[in-house]
């Protein structure tokens, strides 16, 4: 198992190198000049040039890439062009709120999603199933920024129960996590349902019935664990996405997370920040996938790590 993980991680290195190069080229393809943006509209060309030289942007792109990679291998993710703050610091400040928001969103989404999914599967074709289906598909169908705006209007402006933005207290997490989790809850509901419906058709469920087990024991004790494999994959993937922050929801709620850092940095062409963030996202995503694979082993004993 340990060896398997190490092998997987070593296998990641060339992938990440390729990704880093692609990202570098990609973000330099985006038109826009950070020096020009920083210098302001009343700057002369010479001033912009001076700033560009100062920022090291006058060097050829490949050279910039190698400088970046050299620093990266020394554990330095670079500095923001704009605020000169180390990217690690920017990342550090934004990561925790994003992580907390991700955990909360995925958390409630899983709890409710699994529950609704089970209810839908058990009462398949009857009204609780329709209820579950409509709830779930609504969750997928609602644009989350709109849901956010509507909730702000309702819960912040009208009733003043939750803040409209900021995360000074736990209350600040409620609305964003709801807006973010709705779609995931929906997905989990759907996958739990279909997976459970399939599992409930399996021979071993009949075996369990033939042993006199009650429905509850059959669903929770036998079927759900098998279905968790699918659900876990979905939840894992979504968690990976969530960690990258959600640009629209964070914008709507003025949430200081990774998504906003990214979009702000893209807007200012803050190359080191964008570059490092995207690299971290890919790494996070790949790691989450790895963890999901490992968790598979827990839920599906058939998978061996050799």
């Amino acid at each position: 198992m340990g060896r398997y993980i190490i092998k997987r991680i070593i296998g990641l290195i060339p992938l990440l190198l390729a990704v880093s190069f692609l990202i570098f080229i990609f973000i330099h393809l985006i038109p826009g000049d950070p020096a020009r943006l920083m210098a302001g509209k009343d700057a002369t060309n010479d001033e912009v040039e001076a700033l560009r030289t100062y920022l090291g942007l006058d060097k050829p792109i490949l050279e910039q890439y190698f400088i970046y990679m050299k620093e990266l291998f020394q554990g330095d993710l670079g500095h923001s062009l704009r605020s000169n703050a180390p990217v690690t610091q920017l990342f550090g400040e934004r990561f925790l709120p994003s992580l907390q928001l991700s955990i909360l969103s995925i958390g409630w989404a899983m709890l409710i999603g699994i529950l609704l999914g089970v209810i839908s599967a058990v009462f398949r074709g009857r009204w609780p199933d329709y209820f579950g289906t409509i709830t779930a598909i609504s969750g997928i169908s609602v644009p989350n920024f709109w849901l956010g705006l509507v909730m702000i209007q309702l819960f912040a402006v009208q009733f003043n129960i939750f803040p409209a933005g900021g995360i000074e207290t736990w209350k600040g997490y409620v609305l964003p996590s709801f807006a973010l989790g709705a779609g995931i809850m929906a997905m989990i509901t759907r996958f739990t349902r279909s997976s459970l419906v399939q599992t409930l058709q399996e021979d071993f469920i009949r075996t369990a019935r033939s042993r006199g087990l009650g429905e509850r024991a059959i669903i929770f004790g036998h079927a759900l664990k098998k279905s968790m494999i699918t659900v876990l994959t979905i939840a894992g993937l979504q968690f990976g996405f969530l960690l990258g922050g959600s640009i629209v929801v964070e914008t709507v709620f003025s949430f200081p997370g990774m998504g906003r850092l990214l979009i702000d940095s893209i807007q200012f062409r803050d190359y080191p920040v964008v570059q490092s963030l995207l690299l971290i996202f890919s790494l996070e995503f790949i790691l989450v996938n790895l963890i999901v694979d490992i968790l598979y082993g827990f839920f599906n004993p058939k998978i061996r790590y050799n």
Binding site: A43, A50, I114, A156, V157
Partner: protein, 523 residues
């Protein structure tokens, strides 16, 4: 499997609590959010739209950087609410007869928060740093014309210029001073501060908040009157408004003009409206057909109902433009307005040979307010047969598109919907980068590619005028020419509402968009 569900639930809670503990170490008590707005009288929270970009006192570019920095770093002079410069770290200044040498007399009772003394050496160190940057520091623009900086006395600095510059005091006077030791040691201004201002940087969480606490040894007795100021970038308008209503924020701007009414209806909120220096306009590329014809440009101006522009685009919070300079500028001279007159507009178009109109393109940023402005222009010009296509671009792309062409011939922009904000006392900055033929992109923002020798000369003369009167005269003449030539589609100057909790005093917003809070206090 019920255990599993419970397990998921528990571990989520555990993870959240753990990660929350990790934050609570760094975050302050977190009780600043009094739900009902019964605010703590020792603290002030200010929410605004833009992100704070840098705390380097010489590199602030966005208005918000400057404003936040002024709470921590002070300049030699500071504007009062009428836009007049008042001494701050300097007590007085003199200009030599040839108009080239400025002598500043400094306060002798000021120390930086890191213990360094404020004196002529400190000022020289600051100015030198800016000049030596050759442009990599944003404030370099203010010192473009400086030849040398000399220490005349412990508390006296002499700055010599290459050229007479009638606007210079407005520029150098506003530069922020940091401790020479800090500059020497190249401290990280995002982590710590070393200024003379009423507040000290406590903690900057990029993108979330910047907390500044009272400078206990502030040089002016009795100031500051609050213990803590929190600056919060809140990009979403709705959130910012809601925060003010709930008391999470005490002072907010910009207030979307659409929300002024609803805020005014609140008992404990006060809205004030400041006439700004922000001019809205669309440049018309005078080097291109058919815009090279003055009649066409004037026709466009006659076709645009500026009053409706204010009403629809600015929701009533704006002042119809009657010059290229805003009325708030010290050198402003009003012109005869272009009345809304479709007949005249059509006539002028016909005179120019375009009775059937033509098609064009307008560029602008992707912000919602620019979007609205462009749509309005599209609708209005449509009335005289000018078919306008809106091309919104993300700001980096837009700036690239504007600045890529090296000459008027290569330029692709036809109309650019944009705005310009300048300092109240600085007419040069409000004209030179916009109308001088030396300011064609990428050297400036003259996207009208306006090329008028006489205007160039007046801009030059205004800058180098030896007296206020002379400068005023030159700028007045310039404004007349600009208005008649109409290289812009003139629209309106913003009026900017700001809103605060009732009882907050001593914080105010200047016409050029900065806010000052040296004397902020709760009643």
């Amino acid at each position: 499997m019920k255990n599993l569900l419970a397990g998921i639930g528990l571990s989520i809670i555990a993870m959240f609590v753990l990660s929350a503990c990790a934050t609570s170490g760094s975050s302050d008590e977190g009780d600043s959010t009094g739900g009902d707005g019964a605010a703590d009288k020792s603290e002030v929270t200010i929410a605004f739209q833009e992100n704070i970009q840098t705390m380097d006192p010489h590199n602030g570019s966005a208005g918000i950087d400057n404003s936040v920095q002024y709470a921590i770093y002070e300049s030699m002079f500071t504007p009062d609410e009428d836009g007049e410069l008042q001494p701050l770290l300097a007590t007085d200044y003199e200009i030599s007869d040839d108009g080239l040498t400025y002598t500043f007399k400094l306060r002798d009772d000021v120390t930086f928060t890191d213990g360094a003394e404020f004196n002529a050496d400190a000022v020289k160190a600051n100015l030198d740093r800016i000049i030596d940057s050759e442009g990599s520091l944003n404030n370099y623009k203010s010192l473009r014309d400086v030849e040398k900086v000399e220490v005349a006395d412990d508390y006296e600095v002499e700055v010599t210029l290459n050229n007479i510059n009638s606007q210079f005091i407005n520029k150098i006077g506003m530069l922020r001073m940091a401790s020479p030791d800090a500059l020497e040691n190249d401290i990280d201004f995002g982590e710590e501060s070393a200024g003379t201002g009423p507040f000290v940087l406590e903690k900057w969480n990029h993108g979330d908040s910047l907390v500044a606490t009272k400078n206990e040894d502030y040089w002016e007795e009795d100031l500051p009157k609050v213990d803590k100021v929190t600056f919060k970038p809140i990009p979403e308008d709705g959130s910012r408004i809601a925060m003010l209503k709930t008391g999470e924020a005490d002072y907010i701007f910009p207030v979307p003009v659409n929300d002024v009414e609803s805020l005014e209806a609140e008992d404990n909120i006060e809205v004030s409206v400041v006439e700004s220096t922000y001019v809205n306009y669309a440049t018309i590329n005078t080097s291109k057909e058919p815009f090279n014809k003055k009649e066409v440009r004037q026709a466009m101006n006659y076709a645009l109902n500026q009053e409706d522009f204010v009403k629809v685009v600015k929701n009533g919070y704006g002042i119809v433009s009657d010059s290229a300079l805003p009325a708030t500028n010290n050198y402003y001279a009003a012109q005869e307005p272009y009345d809304y007159d479709l007949e005249k507009a059509k006539e002028l178009l016909a005179d120019a040979g375009y009775e059937d109109g033509f098609s064009t393109e307008i560029w602008g940023s992707d912000s919602s307010k620019d979007k609205r402005g462009m749509q309005f222009i599209q609708q209005q010009l449509g009335e005289i047969g000018i078919d306008v296509e809106i091309k919104q671009m993300e700001r980096g792309t837009l700036s690239d598109e504007i600045n890529k062409p090296e000459s008027a011939e290569d330029s692709e922009v036809e109309m650019w919907y944009v705005g310009w904000s300048s300092q109240v006392g600085d007419a040069d900055n409000a004209t030179n980068p916009l109308f001088s033929s030396s300011s064609f992109p990428p050297n400036g923002s003259n996207t009208a590619y306006y090329d008028n020798e006489k205007a160039d000369k007046l801009i030059e003369e205004g800058l180098h005028a030896k007296s206020e009167e002379e400068a005023a005269e030159k700028y007045a003449e310039l404004q007349e020419i600009l208005w008649d030539d109409a290289p812009w589609l003139f629209t309106a100057v913003d009026e900017e509402p700001t809103a605060m909790r009732k009882g907050l005093k001593g914080i105010w917003r200047s016409a050029d968009g900065n806010f000052y809070l040296r004397e902020v206090e709760w009643e």
